[in-house]
Amino acid sequence: MSAPAVELVNVSKRYGEVHALDDVTLAIQPGEVVAMLGPNGAGKTTSISLMLGMRNPTSGTARLFGMDPKDLRARSRIGVMLQESGVPGMLRVEEIVDLFRSYYPAPLSRSEAIQMAGLEAKAHSLVKDLSGGQHQRLYLALAVCGNPDALFLDEPTVGMDVEGRRRFLEEIGELAAKGRTVVLTTHYLEEADQLAKRIIVINHGRVIADSSPAAIKARVAGKRITFSTTAPPEESQLAGLRLSSRQIEDHRVRLLTNEPEEVLRELFRRGVEIQNLEVAGADLEEAFLAMTHDDVAP
């Protein structure tokens, strides 16, 4: 019976007055691929920092492979991509990969790590001469070069172009298929859906959902219907519609739903006056608000 790869037990984190995490308990088993999804400022990065022992919980316990996350034996089994971290610009790609390989007990070969990140052509370049996307791939090389059991990726695809992102997600998918534990944070639902078998939704420092991508999508992947009217619709005209939230301000109506066609058909049928109609994918922030609302509602 092996220990969970990651464990947070009743973890809270406060920065001064700000409650970044509020009594979070979760466990991630070895081999799981988990996405932590949430809007900016939800507490995703804080969660990762606590899992890695880069920050201390205000209360509660964080464990990595059953050990204190600061334990070098635990850290020797992980690879990490962080947001906004820097690397020395005056080292060559192959030099910094070799440097990071020397930190780990059973690293990949230099060429394997560079190949996985698709940086073969840049192996001799100085880090400072890499483009933004290449930087991101270098971080991937540094994260995988120790041949880690678990990978922690904090917003790994930020700043990547479409092609770069596709390729990156494929690489991570392959690592996951080899049985690596992967924990990534993202605010893109598609990204979480594509990679993960489990999605943990965080908002305002709390876990508000923890289930399969299909179950999360059913609750989150809504459409936003916006239109204006000369007279606000009456309660009876909206009754019985499958809406996850609604907002009516003067003559502007905003509805969130998973079945926009059905809702619109019904609205037209009931004779609601509709002008300036827009149907768009709900952004996550809205969807999260709706979900949080769901959770409090009886």
């Binding site: 890695l52 880069m54 920050r55 201390n56 050990m67 070098l72 034996r73 850290r75 020797s76 992980i78 990490v80 962080l82 906004e84 971290s85 820097g86 690397v87 020395p88 610009g89 005056m90 080292l91 030099e95 910094i96 070799d98 440097l99 990071f100 020397s102 930190y103 780990y104 007990p105 059973a106 100085l126 971080y139 540094l142 120790g146 922690f152």
Partner: protein, 267 residues
């Protein structure tokens, strides 16, 4: 039990230290603003100030030449310069670029990181002494006995150690933008006030009063002593005692500054 132990291994320290030291060395060496000033500047000052009067006696009747005396001054200036500026500015820059963030998530032990930084700076300091020594011997014709060359070399290197602590402290206390100004503001005036560029007797009276308490002044007595040119009557035991005390004080400040920085970022 043994299976668990086999799983929980970490990388061995020696190769890690070797790689880290190499990386720290090339990081410093490949920045011309640092490597050129560290390695060439002492020789350049020597050319400007020392070369013209290298073979003249230090003072009328002295058996020591000005060339030998000023070689010792610039050797010390060079090594301390590497420590204060190398650490002060490069550490502050690395913090500014958040390089410490990713390192923190790796299993690299902090003592290995600091040892590697110190080793790389010592290597550059050694190069600066060798370049200066060659310049003084070949171009200025300075003649010292073999034991004088060696004593000067190891004393200058050993005297640089307290300044490693000072460099660390400045690196964690100064911001990345202010670091070059702050380190130079602290280092250059004390180098002057310690008599490294001009003999102390030419400096204002109040500086002559302060000088004996400055770490560079004490270090200067030690390197001047190695070429037979100390400027005051004290003993080298006193000088070494001062150097040790400065080393302890600077490293304690550095440790405090490091902990303060870590507490802000990683608590």
């Amino acid at each position: 039990m043994s299976a668990v132990a086999a799983l929980n291994v970490t990388a061995s320290i020696a190769p890690m230290l070797a790689r880290q030291s190499y990386a720290e060395f090339v990081k410093l060496f490949r920045v011309p603003a640092f490597s050129v000033t560290s390695i060439v500047l002492p020789s350049m000052f020597y050319a400007f100030i020392g070369l013209g009067q290298a073979s003249e006696p230090l003072y009328p009747g002295s058996s020591v030449t000005f060339g030998a005396y000023f070689l010792a001054s610039m050797a010390l200036y060079g090594v301390a310069n590497v420590m204060v500026l190398g650490f002060g500015i490069s550490l502050a820059n690395e913090r500014g670029q958040k390089q410490d963030l990713l390192m923190k998530s790796t299993p690299l032990p902090a003592p290995v990181f600091f040892t590697a930084k110190a080793a790389s700076a010592l290597a550059i300091a050694l190069i600066s002494i060798i370049v200066l020594g060659l310049f003084a011997a070949v171009v200025a014709g300075v003649q010292l006995s073999a034991s004088q060359w060696l004593t000067l070399g190891w004393r200058a290197m050993l005297c640089s150690i307290p300044f490693i602590g000072l460099g660390f402290a400045l690196g964690y206390l100064a911001g990345p933008n202010s670091a070059p100004a702050v380190t130079n503001l602290i280092y250059l005036p004390t180098a002057f006030a310690s008599g490294l560029f001009f003999p102390l007797r030419l400096l204002p009276h109040f500086l002559q009063q302060i000088a004996p308490y400055l770490p560079l002044y004490r270090a200067a007595q030690l390197v001047w002593d190695s070429v037979g040119a100390r400027t005051e009557g004290g003993s080298i035991t006193t000088d070494w005692f001062y150097m040790g005390a400065y080393a302890v004080a600077f490293f304690l400040i550095a440790l405090w500054a490091y902990r303060r920085d870590q507490g802000r970022k990683f608590n």
